[in-house]
Subunit: 207 residues, 2 copies
Protein backbone atom coordinates (compact mmCIF):
# COMPACT_ATOMS: atom_id res chain seq x y z
CA UNK A 1 0.00 0.00 0.00
CA UNK A 2 1.51 3.28 -1.15
CA UNK A 3 0.65 6.41 0.82
CA UNK A 4 1.62 9.74 -0.76
CA UNK A 5 2.04 12.85 1.39
CA UNK A 6 3.00 16.08 -0.42
CA UNK A 7 5.82 18.27 0.86
CA UNK A 8 5.95 21.91 -0.16
CA UNK A 9 7.28 25.25 0.96
CA UNK A 10 5.26 26.93 3.73
CA UNK A 11 3.61 23.66 4.74
CA UNK A 12 2.71 23.19 8.40
CA UNK A 13 4.89 20.24 9.36
CA UNK A 14 2.64 18.70 12.02
CA UNK A 15 -0.30 18.55 9.56
CA UNK A 16 1.67 15.98 7.58
CA UNK A 17 3.91 14.39 10.22
CA UNK A 18 0.96 13.45 12.45
CA UNK A 19 -0.67 11.27 9.74
CA UNK A 20 2.76 10.00 8.63
CA UNK A 21 3.54 8.79 12.14
CA UNK A 22 0.21 6.90 12.24
CA UNK A 23 -0.06 5.63 8.66
CA UNK A 24 3.56 4.50 8.32
CA UNK A 25 2.83 1.95 11.07
CA UNK A 26 0.15 0.16 9.05
CA UNK A 27 1.60 -3.26 8.20
CA UNK A 28 2.52 -3.34 4.51
CA UNK A 29 2.18 0.42 4.02
CA UNK A 30 4.91 2.75 2.75
CA UNK A 31 4.72 6.53 3.04
CA UNK A 32 6.30 8.43 0.14
CA UNK A 33 6.89 12.15 0.58
CA UNK A 34 6.19 13.68 -2.81
CA UNK A 35 7.54 17.09 -3.73
CA UNK A 36 7.30 19.68 -6.48
CA UNK A 37 11.08 19.49 -6.86
CA UNK A 38 13.93 17.37 -5.57
CA UNK A 39 15.01 20.12 -3.17
CA UNK A 40 14.05 20.04 0.49
CA UNK A 41 10.81 21.86 1.22
CA UNK A 42 10.88 24.48 3.97
CA UNK A 43 7.93 24.34 6.35
CA UNK A 44 6.33 27.54 7.60
CA UNK A 45 8.34 27.50 10.88
CA UNK A 46 11.64 26.44 9.28
CA UNK A 47 11.74 22.62 9.31
CA UNK A 48 13.23 21.26 6.08
CA UNK A 49 11.95 17.95 4.73
CA UNK A 50 13.58 16.05 1.86
CA UNK A 51 11.10 14.70 -0.72
CA UNK A 52 11.41 11.02 -1.66
CA UNK A 53 10.01 11.53 -5.15
CA UNK A 54 8.37 14.03 -7.44
CA UNK A 55 4.58 14.22 -7.63
CA UNK A 56 4.69 12.66 -11.10
CA UNK A 57 6.70 9.69 -9.83
CA UNK A 58 3.69 8.65 -7.76
CA UNK A 59 0.73 9.12 -10.10
CA UNK A 60 -1.54 6.49 -8.54
CA UNK A 61 -1.06 6.22 -4.76
CA UNK A 62 -3.45 4.03 -2.80
CA UNK A 63 -3.82 6.78 -0.23
CA UNK A 64 -3.25 10.51 -0.64
CA UNK A 65 -2.99 12.78 2.41
CA UNK A 66 -2.67 16.49 1.69
CA UNK A 67 -1.53 18.56 4.65
CA UNK A 68 -1.95 22.30 5.01
CA UNK A 69 -0.08 25.45 5.71
CA UNK A 70 0.14 28.87 4.10
CA UNK A 71 1.78 27.29 1.04
CA UNK A 72 -1.54 25.72 0.04
CA UNK A 73 -2.67 29.14 -1.27
CA UNK A 74 -0.11 28.88 -4.07
CA UNK A 75 -0.78 25.18 -4.66
CA UNK A 76 -4.50 25.83 -5.06
CA UNK A 77 -3.61 27.91 -8.14
CA UNK A 78 -0.97 25.52 -9.46
CA UNK A 79 -2.39 23.44 -12.32
CA UNK A 80 0.43 20.92 -12.04
CA UNK A 81 -0.56 20.15 -8.46
CA UNK A 82 -4.30 20.20 -9.16
CA UNK A 83 -3.92 17.85 -12.14
CA UNK A 84 -1.88 15.47 -10.02
CA UNK A 85 -4.55 15.52 -7.28
CA UNK A 86 -7.37 14.89 -9.77
CA UNK A 87 -5.58 12.01 -11.47
CA UNK A 88 -4.45 10.43 -8.21
CA UNK A 89 -7.98 10.69 -6.84
CA UNK A 90 -9.34 8.68 -9.77
CA UNK A 91 -7.69 5.54 -8.41
CA UNK A 92 -7.04 6.17 -4.71
CA UNK A 93 -8.64 4.00 -2.11
CA UNK A 94 -8.66 7.05 0.17
CA UNK A 95 -8.12 10.75 -0.46
CA UNK A 96 -7.59 12.76 2.70
CA UNK A 97 -6.55 16.19 3.89
CA UNK A 98 -5.58 17.98 7.07
CA UNK A 99 -6.05 21.68 7.80
CA UNK A 100 -5.84 23.83 4.66
CA UNK A 101 -4.99 20.77 2.57
CA UNK A 102 -8.75 20.70 1.97
CA UNK A 103 -8.40 23.98 0.08
CA UNK A 104 -6.21 22.17 -2.45
CA UNK A 105 -8.69 19.28 -2.72
CA UNK A 106 -11.46 21.85 -3.12
CA UNK A 107 -9.56 23.77 -5.79
CA UNK A 108 -9.11 20.48 -7.64
CA UNK A 109 -12.89 20.15 -7.70
CA UNK A 110 -13.17 17.23 -5.28
CA UNK A 111 -15.39 18.91 -2.68
CA UNK A 112 -17.99 20.71 -4.77
CA UNK A 113 -21.13 21.25 -2.71
CA UNK A 114 -19.88 18.90 0.00
CA UNK A 115 -19.56 19.48 3.70
CA UNK A 116 -15.88 19.75 4.55
CA UNK A 117 -13.59 21.32 7.12
CA UNK A 118 -10.24 23.06 7.47
CA UNK A 119 -8.41 25.20 10.02
CA UNK A 120 -11.03 27.26 11.93
CA UNK A 121 -9.44 30.55 10.79
CA UNK A 122 -10.03 30.01 7.05
CA UNK A 123 -13.53 28.62 6.55
CA UNK A 124 -14.12 31.43 4.03
CA UNK A 125 -11.20 30.28 1.88
CA UNK A 126 -12.56 26.75 1.85
CA UNK A 127 -16.02 28.03 0.95
CA UNK A 128 -14.53 29.85 -2.02
CA UNK A 129 -13.62 26.48 -3.55
CA UNK A 130 -17.26 25.37 -3.57
CA UNK A 131 -17.19 23.27 -0.38
CA UNK A 132 -19.46 23.89 2.61
CA UNK A 133 -17.29 24.43 5.71
CA UNK A 134 -18.44 22.87 8.96
CA UNK A 135 -16.78 22.90 12.39
CA UNK A 136 -16.14 19.18 12.78
CA UNK A 137 -12.89 17.45 13.72
CA UNK A 138 -13.27 14.91 10.90
CA UNK A 139 -15.64 14.87 7.90
CA UNK A 140 -16.12 11.72 5.79
CA UNK A 141 -17.67 11.21 2.33
CA UNK A 142 -17.18 7.79 0.78
CA UNK A 143 -13.44 7.62 0.16
CA UNK A 144 -12.75 11.23 1.11
CA UNK A 145 -11.72 12.08 4.67
CA UNK A 146 -11.10 15.66 5.79
CA UNK A 147 -9.47 16.69 9.07
CA UNK A 148 -9.60 20.06 10.81
CA UNK A 149 -6.54 22.17 11.70
CA UNK A 150 -2.98 20.92 12.27
CA UNK A 151 -3.21 18.44 15.17
CA UNK A 152 -6.49 16.99 13.84
CA UNK A 153 -4.44 14.93 11.39
CA UNK A 154 -3.57 12.49 14.17
CA UNK A 155 -7.22 11.83 15.01
CA UNK A 156 -8.10 11.63 11.32
CA UNK A 157 -5.31 9.21 10.50
CA UNK A 158 -6.36 6.83 13.28
CA UNK A 159 -9.90 6.77 11.90
CA UNK A 160 -8.48 6.30 8.42
CA UNK A 161 -6.46 3.29 9.59
CA UNK A 162 -9.60 1.76 11.11
CA UNK A 163 -11.47 2.24 7.81
CA UNK A 164 -8.54 0.96 5.72
CA UNK A 165 -7.79 -2.08 7.86
CA UNK A 166 -9.40 -2.95 11.18
CA UNK A 167 -10.19 -1.02 14.33
CA UNK A 168 -7.67 -3.08 16.28
CA UNK A 169 -4.85 -1.95 14.02
CA UNK A 170 -5.78 1.67 14.69
CA UNK A 171 -5.99 0.99 18.42
CA UNK A 172 -2.58 -0.72 18.39
CA UNK A 173 -1.05 2.26 16.56
CA UNK A 174 -2.67 4.64 19.05
CA UNK A 175 -0.96 2.67 21.81
CA UNK A 176 2.30 2.61 19.85
CA UNK A 177 2.41 6.41 19.70
CA UNK A 178 1.09 6.64 23.26
CA UNK A 179 -1.73 8.89 22.07
CA UNK A 180 -3.53 9.45 25.35
CA UNK A 181 -3.86 13.21 24.99
CA UNK A 182 -3.79 15.24 28.18
CA UNK A 183 -3.55 18.85 27.05
CA UNK A 184 -2.75 21.04 30.06
CA UNK A 185 -5.34 23.60 28.89
CA UNK A 186 -8.69 23.39 27.11
CA UNK A 187 -8.55 26.02 24.40
CA UNK A 188 -8.31 24.01 21.20
CA UNK A 189 -11.29 25.58 19.43
CA UNK A 190 -12.48 29.19 19.07
CA UNK A 191 -15.55 28.41 21.19
CA UNK A 192 -13.49 26.94 24.02
CA UNK A 193 -10.78 29.61 23.80
CA UNK A 194 -13.04 32.66 23.53
CA UNK A 195 -12.74 35.82 21.46
CA UNK A 196 -9.73 37.33 23.25
CA UNK A 197 -7.52 34.35 22.46
CA UNK A 198 -8.86 34.19 18.90
CA UNK A 199 -7.78 37.81 18.46
CA UNK A 200 -4.38 37.04 20.01
CA UNK A 201 -3.80 34.13 17.61
CA UNK A 202 -4.72 36.23 14.61
CA UNK A 203 -2.72 39.27 15.70
CA UNK A 204 0.43 37.17 16.14
CA UNK A 205 -0.06 34.77 13.23
CA UNK A 206 -0.08 31.73 15.51
CA UNK A 207 -2.52 29.84 13.29
CA UNK B 1 15.24 32.61 22.63
CA UNK B 2 17.05 29.74 20.96
CA UNK B 3 15.44 26.30 21.09
CA UNK B 4 17.60 23.35 20.01
CA UNK B 5 16.00 20.10 18.88
CA UNK B 6 18.37 17.28 17.85
CA UNK B 7 17.83 15.37 14.60
CA UNK B 8 19.39 11.92 14.23
CA UNK B 9 18.95 8.70 12.32
CA UNK B 10 16.19 6.44 13.64
CA UNK B 11 14.47 9.29 15.47
CA UNK B 12 10.70 9.20 15.78
CA UNK B 13 9.67 12.27 13.85
CA UNK B 14 6.52 13.17 15.78
CA UNK B 15 8.45 13.19 19.09
CA UNK B 16 10.33 16.23 17.80
CA UNK B 17 7.86 17.79 15.35
CA UNK B 18 5.11 18.04 17.98
CA UNK B 19 7.19 20.27 20.29
CA UNK B 20 8.63 22.14 17.27
CA UNK B 21 5.13 23.02 16.07
CA UNK B 22 4.27 24.39 19.53
CA UNK B 23 7.56 26.03 20.55
CA UNK B 24 8.27 27.68 17.20
CA UNK B 25 5.11 29.76 17.75
CA UNK B 26 6.44 31.39 20.93
CA UNK B 27 7.01 35.06 20.08
CA UNK B 28 10.74 35.70 19.78
CA UNK B 29 11.71 32.02 19.76
CA UNK B 30 13.67 30.27 17.04
CA UNK B 31 13.89 26.50 16.72
CA UNK B 32 17.24 25.21 15.44
CA UNK B 33 17.41 21.57 14.33
CA UNK B 34 20.84 20.37 15.42
CA UNK B 35 22.44 17.32 13.84
CA UNK B 36 25.45 15.07 14.23
CA UNK B 37 26.37 15.84 10.61
CA UNK B 38 25.23 18.16 7.86
CA UNK B 39 23.45 15.33 6.07
CA UNK B 40 19.70 14.83 6.40
CA UNK B 41 18.76 12.48 9.23
CA UNK B 42 16.45 9.60 8.39
CA UNK B 43 13.66 9.04 10.89
CA UNK B 44 12.62 5.51 11.86
CA UNK B 45 9.75 5.46 9.34
CA UNK B 46 11.65 7.14 6.51
CA UNK B 47 11.10 10.91 6.86
CA UNK B 48 14.29 12.84 6.10
CA UNK B 49 14.96 16.07 7.99
CA UNK B 50 17.74 18.52 7.11
CA UNK B 51 19.69 19.81 10.14
CA UNK B 52 20.13 23.57 10.44
CA UNK B 53 23.40 23.30 12.32
CA UNK B 54 25.77 20.89 14.02
CA UNK B 55 25.40 20.20 17.73
CA UNK B 56 28.59 22.15 18.39
CA UNK B 57 27.23 25.20 16.57
CA UNK B 58 24.60 25.55 19.29
CA UNK B 59 26.52 24.96 22.52
CA UNK B 60 24.28 27.02 24.80
CA UNK B 61 20.62 26.92 23.72
CA UNK B 62 18.03 28.50 25.99
CA UNK B 63 15.84 25.44 25.60
CA UNK B 64 16.85 21.90 24.66
CA UNK B 65 14.22 19.35 23.63
CA UNK B 66 15.50 15.83 23.00
CA UNK B 67 13.07 13.60 21.13
CA UNK B 68 13.18 9.83 21.03
CA UNK B 69 13.22 6.90 18.69
CA UNK B 70 15.29 3.76 18.35
CA UNK B 71 18.31 5.91 17.45
CA UNK B 72 18.58 7.11 21.05
CA UNK B 73 20.16 3.74 21.96
CA UNK B 74 23.25 4.71 19.96
CA UNK B 75 23.20 8.32 21.16
CA UNK B 76 23.13 7.19 24.80
CA UNK B 77 26.58 5.65 24.20
CA UNK B 78 27.92 8.53 22.13
CA UNK B 79 30.20 10.71 24.25
CA UNK B 80 30.02 13.55 21.74
CA UNK B 81 26.26 13.73 22.20
CA UNK B 82 26.38 13.24 25.98
CA UNK B 83 29.02 15.96 26.37
CA UNK B 84 26.91 18.33 24.31
CA UNK B 85 23.86 17.59 26.46
CA UNK B 86 25.78 18.10 29.72
CA UNK B 87 27.30 21.39 28.58
CA UNK B 88 24.06 22.71 27.11
CA UNK B 89 22.21 21.80 30.31
CA UNK B 90 24.60 23.94 32.36
CA UNK B 91 23.06 27.08 30.89
CA UNK B 92 19.64 26.11 29.56
CA UNK B 93 16.54 27.70 30.96
CA UNK B 94 14.75 24.44 30.23
CA UNK B 95 15.97 20.96 29.36
CA UNK B 96 13.24 18.67 28.07
CA UNK B 97 12.73 15.31 26.45
CA UNK B 98 10.01 13.32 24.75
CA UNK B 99 9.75 9.53 24.65
CA UNK B 100 13.16 7.82 24.72
CA UNK B 101 14.87 11.19 24.58
CA UNK B 102 14.89 10.81 28.38
CA UNK B 103 17.25 7.86 27.98
CA UNK B 104 19.80 10.25 26.48
CA UNK B 105 19.28 12.77 29.28
CA UNK B 106 19.61 9.90 31.75
CA UNK B 107 22.78 8.59 30.12
CA UNK B 108 24.20 12.12 30.39
CA UNK B 109 23.64 11.93 34.13
CA UNK B 110 20.82 14.46 34.34
CA UNK B 111 18.18 12.20 35.88
CA UNK B 112 20.07 10.32 38.57
CA UNK B 113 17.65 9.08 41.24
CA UNK B 114 14.88 11.26 39.83
CA UNK B 115 11.37 10.29 38.81
CA UNK B 116 11.14 10.45 35.02
CA UNK B 117 9.20 8.91 32.16
CA UNK B 118 9.62 7.62 28.62
CA UNK B 119 7.70 5.46 26.14
CA UNK B 120 5.72 2.85 28.13
CA UNK B 121 7.56 -0.03 26.40
CA UNK B 122 11.04 0.87 27.67
CA UNK B 123 10.80 1.81 31.35
CA UNK B 124 13.56 -0.74 32.03
CA UNK B 125 15.95 1.07 29.67
CA UNK B 126 15.28 4.35 31.42
CA UNK B 127 15.80 2.71 34.82
CA UNK B 128 19.21 1.47 33.63
CA UNK B 129 20.37 5.11 33.40
CA UNK B 130 19.66 5.69 37.10
CA UNK B 131 16.26 7.38 36.74
CA UNK B 132 13.08 6.09 38.37
CA UNK B 133 10.45 5.49 35.65
CA UNK B 134 6.88 6.48 36.40
CA UNK B 135 3.78 6.28 34.21
CA UNK B 136 2.99 9.98 33.96
CA UNK B 137 2.30 12.04 30.83
CA UNK B 138 4.66 14.81 31.98
CA UNK B 139 7.22 14.86 34.81
CA UNK B 140 8.77 18.13 36.03
CA UNK B 141 11.84 18.85 38.19
CA UNK B 142 12.97 22.45 38.36
CA UNK B 143 14.12 23.23 34.83
CA UNK B 144 13.80 19.64 33.57
CA UNK B 145 10.59 18.53 31.87
CA UNK B 146 10.10 14.97 30.64
CA UNK B 147 7.27 13.81 28.37
CA UNK B 148 6.03 10.26 27.79
CA UNK B 149 5.91 8.51 24.40
CA UNK B 150 5.73 10.17 20.97
CA UNK B 151 2.50 12.23 20.99
CA UNK B 152 3.10 13.35 24.60
CA UNK B 153 5.51 15.94 23.25
CA UNK B 154 2.59 18.15 22.23
CA UNK B 155 1.13 18.18 25.74
CA UNK B 156 4.57 18.68 27.26
CA UNK B 157 5.45 21.55 24.95
CA UNK B 158 2.25 23.41 25.78
CA UNK B 159 3.05 23.14 29.48
CA UNK B 160 6.61 24.23 28.75
CA UNK B 161 5.34 27.33 26.93
CA UNK B 162 3.17 28.20 29.92
CA UNK B 163 6.17 27.87 32.26
CA UNK B 164 8.48 29.79 29.89
CA UNK B 165 6.09 32.65 29.17
CA UNK B 166 2.46 32.85 30.29
CA UNK B 167 -0.47 30.47 30.30
CA UNK B 168 -2.29 32.62 27.75
CA UNK B 169 0.52 32.18 25.24
CA UNK B 170 0.24 28.41 25.60
CA UNK B 171 -3.54 28.61 25.27
CA UNK B 172 -3.24 30.76 22.13
CA UNK B 173 -0.80 28.28 20.59
CA UNK B 174 -3.16 25.40 21.47
CA UNK B 175 -5.88 27.25 19.57
CA UNK B 176 -3.48 28.00 16.71
CA UNK B 177 -2.77 24.31 16.18
CA UNK B 178 -6.43 23.46 16.85
CA UNK B 179 -5.38 21.00 19.54
CA UNK B 180 -8.79 19.81 20.67
CA UNK B 181 -7.97 16.11 20.59
CA UNK B 182 -10.78 13.74 19.75
CA UNK B 183 -9.13 10.36 19.27
CA UNK B 184 -11.62 7.94 17.72
CA UNK B 185 -10.53 5.21 20.16
CA UNK B 186 -9.30 5.18 23.76
CA UNK B 187 -6.26 2.92 23.76
CA UNK B 188 -3.38 5.33 24.29
CA UNK B 189 -1.89 3.58 27.35
CA UNK B 190 -1.22 -0.09 28.15
CA UNK B 191 -3.87 -0.02 30.88
CA UNK B 192 -6.52 1.38 28.55
CA UNK B 193 -5.52 -0.84 25.62
CA UNK B 194 -5.17 -4.10 27.53
CA UNK B 195 -2.65 -6.94 27.21
CA UNK B 196 -3.74 -8.21 23.77
CA UNK B 197 -3.05 -4.88 22.11
CA UNK B 198 0.20 -4.48 24.03
CA UNK B 199 1.31 -7.83 22.62
CA UNK B 200 0.20 -6.80 19.10
CA UNK B 201 2.22 -3.56 19.30
CA UNK B 202 5.31 -5.38 20.46
CA UNK B 203 4.98 -8.23 17.95
CA UNK B 204 4.73 -5.78 15.04
CA UNK B 205 7.17 -3.14 16.31
CA UNK B 206 4.50 -0.43 16.29
CA UNK B 207 6.06 1.37 19.26
Amino acid sequence: MQIAIPVFDEMTALDAVGPYEVLSRVPGATVTWVGLSEEPARADRGLRIVPDALLEDVPAPDVLVFGGGFGTRALARNERVLDWVRRAHESTQWTASVCTGSIVLGAAGLLDGMNATTHWAVYDELAATGAVPIAERIVEHDKIMIGAGVSAGIDMALLLVARMTHENVARAIQLGIEYDPQPPFDSGTPVKAGPDLVALVQAHGLD
